[in-house]
Assembly symmetry: none
Homo-oligomer: 253 residues x 2
């Protein structure tokens, strides 16, 4: 297989958060390399580097050597125009939940022009709420209800397989499509937008200062789903700034 | 989730030939169970039963306990109406070589009425020629040419994932999940939201009253794309109402 859409593969990062078992890191690297992916980022791995990781990588140890290590997920995905989190179960608040095919297609399409991150949580507990909020979309790998305990590296294998499938399928399509569109807002820019939104909502007494989280979570979900481009992000911030001015003016009376 | 096409799952057997590493047997069982498959057959496993296999099965040890052990592949696949072998590389003799999707579809279709076997060879050397001749079809999982070293359990994971996808597992999951979500905002409700947004934006001097259309068009596009549900629409209108109150307060001075 030729590697189609080279930018897809350089722009698409796999992020593993607080992996406990070094063997899973190695196996994930092996899965990635087979499918043409090379960018691995590890957020606070329990043990790394580690002989067990290298052994399970089985020839993909170059990915381990070049892996980026960060202290937080926020740092790992800061430059990404799209952050997709993997989730094993259904949550009370219905985040937009994608199937692997849809997820892979979206990642490939976006990675044609900007960095994207696909994030895997801890073996036992997945991603925590704070980390989930950094994700613009969620993907789940369907399993039978009675046994949904997919191994971490197995989940990486399924999704990187779907990505390589979609990259082969959609490469032609992506090539012609993106030229005229504005770049997407980055995760970092979106975080600044959400902080601004929260501040302004508090200023106009719309948010309960004692419990702003629930409403903010809903709004993050809405805007994450919309995949804001840079212009749209600036329009929204401009609107917030205009409101801030009115609020400040009132304060001066 | 109900497992649709129950016969597919009872008729579809995974056969592992002369597996060296017990860990791979356990991981394969785990992959199978997640995807709804339960019939495992081991041809001359190097070490089995084995604590390492049980550990990596991680809750799928019932599949290990019920696994059938045979002395030959011929014995393992004797009752099968369709035998598909997995192959990492293309061989000189041009066997009919399927992609995973086609293979999974064919396996499911046949398993609806008769037993079928999907056969995985040794970690290092795959299936030998005699074994390949027992296979009716071959499937290969596409990888990059430079690194085609898929782990055995990872290959089982990819193909059982494709089988579950083809068996309609994912459709059912999606269908069941959507029911509980809040209804989408109606077109009428969205028009009221856009009018309100325009009015408030004018009030805070963010829109140019002479030419409000361009910015409003962008925002309509953004929110239309996001497919707002009823709650989200109400949150946004609540925020606008809170801004209106501040603006009105200022006007009264």
């Amino acid at each position: 297989m030729k590697t189609p859409g080279q930018s897809v593969f350089t722009n698409l990062r796999i992020v593993l958060v607080e992996t406990s078992h070094p063997g899973n890191i190695g196996a994930a690297a092996r899965a990635m390399k087979c499918m043409g992916l090379r960018e691995l980022c590890l957020v606070r791995p329990a043990r790394f580097p580690c002989a067990e990781a290298t052994a399970r990588a089985s020839g993909a140890d170059d990915l381990l050597m070049n892996a980026r290590i960060t202290d937080s997920l926020r740092e790992a995905v800061g430059d990404s125009a799209l952050v997709v989190g993997t989730s094993a179960r259904q949550r009370r608040i219905p985040w937009p939940l994608m199937q692997p095919e849809e997820c892979a297609a979206l990642l490939c399409e976006t990675a044609a022009t900007a960095p994207v991150s696909l994030v895997f949580g801890r073996e036992q507990s997945g991603l925590n709420n704070e980390e989930l909020e950094l994700c613009h979309r969620l993907v789940t790998i369907p399993t039978v209800t009675e046994f949904s305990s997919l191994n971490l590296a197995a989940a990486v294998q399924v999704l990187t397989y779907e990505i390589s499938r979609q990259a082969g399928l959609s490469n032609k399509l992506v090539a012609g499509r993106k030229e005229s569109t504005t770049p997407l807002a980055t995760a970092e820019q979106l975080e600044l937008l959400y902080s601004h939104l929260e501040k302004t909502m508090l200023a106009v007494d719309f948010l309960d200062p004692a419990n702003p989280r629930r409403l903010m979570r809903r709004l993050r979900r809405l805007f994450n789903r919309a995949a804001l481009d840079h212009n749209e992000m600036q329009i929204l911030r401009g609107f917030l700034a205009a409101i801030d001015k009115i609020v400040a003016g009132e304060g001066r009376d």
